[in-house]
Amino acid sequence: MGERVAIILTMGLGTYLLRVFPLLFAHRLSLGPRILRWFQFVSYAVIASFVWFGFTKGASPAGMMGFRVIALGLTILVAVRTKNALLGMAAGIAAVLILARVGA
């Protein structure tokens, strides 16, 4: 079994345990509100860090960074206004494609 498959299976196992553990043992567990809140913040912070990594990774030509800033702003704006992540994503990707064509 390859290393990547092992990582994927471990990701799945860890995620599954997070899903099933409370269903089976909720009556024995008591996490304080502060701890639950901490995990919520960590979850958001990890996602925000990944946005930064993904945002800077693909911008190879120098001029593309400006386009990506605009597209990221549009992504967030549409998602916030419509409360629809799918629309926000579509708007951002379309913006990057259009701006890249116009700027090329």
Partner: protein, 236 residues
């Protein structure tokens, strides 16, 4: 399955139609991005099947092709997916009559969307068929999720040149849109903003571990600030 159960399952499946559409569209982009990242078809489908959580899968396809990232992938998966534990907690009062084997089998299908649709229905009307309703929502959603992954992966191989910039933007766009659509509370928005801006600084200080350490640091600081704020203003 008796007539009542079939009715509950169908009710759930009908309520899942918007979830299916969204899952299919999101996983098509996931499949395209995974193909662009160089993952094998089997790896991509396996990930969708066993993880079944987009916010954790998108980062993983970026990190998997790099060597020495296993611990970072696993920790970030756990941190991102901790929300499922909170959702499972919330479902417990509504699934009291379900046998252990059913819970063990059904747990894999808990996602933000399948939880939200089911939980809202349980708030309106909770009965002995709750679990069947949940399966009605979750099973079609899971099938759409896998179908979208396969379609996206094979579609990804046929995308003409000139779309690379758009493909490389799928991953940050998906996560940013997810945060934009989900976050309403000011303190959570502040956590996201600080974490985003601090990432390059922490990554420069601790290469390879910046992401995890940054998230832990920002979350801990936010909890500390929140505790201080509450103690400083006891009336709030």
């Amino acid at each position: 399955m008796n007539r009542d159960q079939l009715s509950s399952f169908t009710e759930g499946a009908l309520a899942a139609i918007p979830v299916c559409v969204a899952f299919f569209a999101i996983t098509v982009t996931f499949g395209i991005a995974a193909h662009a990242a160089g993952l094998a078809a089997g790896e991509v489908l396996l990930m969708s099947a066993v993880v079944f959580a987009g916010p954790a899968q998108f980062p993983a396809i970026e990190l998997l092709p790099l060597s020495g990232q296993a611990m970072q992938i696993l920790l970030s998966t756990l941190f991102i997916n901790f929300r499922f534990a909170v959702m499972s907690f919330a479902l417990v009062p509504h699934l009291k009559r379900v046998r252990t084997a059913g819970l063990v089998a059904g747990a894999q299908l808990i996602t933000m969307s399948t939880f939200a649709v089911s939980f809202l229905r349980f708030q309106r009307r909770s009965n002995h068929d709750n679990f069947i309703y949940f399966l009605g929502v979750a099973i079609p959603s899971y099938i759409c999720y896998l179908a979208g992954t396969v379609v996206g992966y094979y579609f990804g191989a046929r995308i003409p040149a000139g779309f690379e910039e758009g493909i490389s933007f799928i991953f940050p766009a998906y996560l940013a849109a997810l945060l934009g659509a989900e976050l309403r509370e000011r303190r959570s928005i502040a956590v996201v903003g600080v974490a985003f801006l601090a990432t390059p600084v922490v990554e420069a200080l601790v290469p390879g571990w910046g992401l995890i350490l940054n998230a832990i640091g920002v979350a801990t600081a936010a909890i500390g600030a929140e505790a201080w704020w509450e103690s400083a203003s006891p009336s709030s």
